[in-house]
């Protein structure tokens, strides 16, 4: 007798409202389930970010660049700049000779909206024409205007009077 009057297994779901007395609890429970499910969704959605971040941390994100000639030392006077592109022909870059010994190079797409940043010798600064962003030439840090991130610095090598680009430094912002 009693056998027929039972649910054979524990049914804790909210699509199955067999027990009318429990309807309100089930509603509430359903809501809580949704909340837990959403928490799970958030947990899963951060996994790819974590994976890519871990990969970068382990240095797998470091790329190898082919060394590329920029200019000859004798052709660049102190305070002058040279435009080039590195690593690909679509990444415009700028080399500045700050002093006798000091050369710096940056990818010159502004970190605001990617306008080309140029070197203003008289002011000793790099300036973005679009919204008057300014960058410190010796560090690449933004000093004024909308940009918030530094320009990516290009690693240089001077070999036999020729300046080469050998890589792009990662941000350390």
């Amino acid at each position: 007798m009693d056998k027929n009057n039972k649910i054979p297994f524990q049914e804790d779901n909210y699509t199955h409202n067999i027990n009318r007395n429990g309807e309100r609890t089930l509603d509430r429970r359903g809501f809580m389930k949704t909340l837990v499910g959403a928490a799970g969704l958030f947990a899963i959605s951060t996994l790819p970010w974590g994976a890519v971040a871990a990969k970068e941390l382990m240095g797998l994100g470091e790329k190898d660049y082919a060394r590329q000639k920029i200019a000859e030392v004798s052709k660049v006077a102190v305070g002058d700049s040279v435009d080039f592109s590195f690593p690909s022909e679509h990444d415009s870059a700028i080399l500045i000779r700050l002093s006798e010994k000091k050369y710096v190079a940056y990818q010159n797409a502004c970190t605001h909206l990617r306008c080309p940043v140029f070197w203003v010798k008289e002011e000793g600064e790099m300036i973005c024409p679009c919204h008057h962003g300014k960058f410190n030439a010796s560090t690449g840090e933004p000093t004024a205007g909308p940009p918030r991130r530094p320009l990516p610095e290009i690693k240089l090598e001077i070999d036999n009077g020729v300046i080469y680009a050998i890589g792009v430094k990662r941000y350390e912002a």
């Binding site: 049914e11 809580m32 959605s45 890519v52 970068e56 941390l57």
Partner: protein
């Protein structure tokens, strides 16, 4: 607040914290603070078992009424 709503409230808070953490993860990723990404992402992961625990606890406390 009604005692019976405590667990629901906790779950809502967990979800809000989830939103905040996810946003932080994405931002820190673009600022290239990869260690921070891992930390926030880890918290985000941890919150899920916590949410499950709160849910289970709630169920235990109210009893599973599907049998009567």
């Amino acid at each position: 607040m009604k005692r019976s709503h405590l667990h629901v409230a906790i779950l809502c808070v967990i979800l809000a914290v989830n939103v905040v953490l996810t946003q932080l993860v994405v931002h820190q990723y673009f600022f290239q603070n990869y260690a921070a990404v891992l930390i926030y992402g880890g918290f985000n992961l941890l919150l899920f078992p916590v949410a499950v625990f709160v849910y289970k606890h709630d169920r235990r406390q109210r009893g599973v009424n599907t049998h009567e």
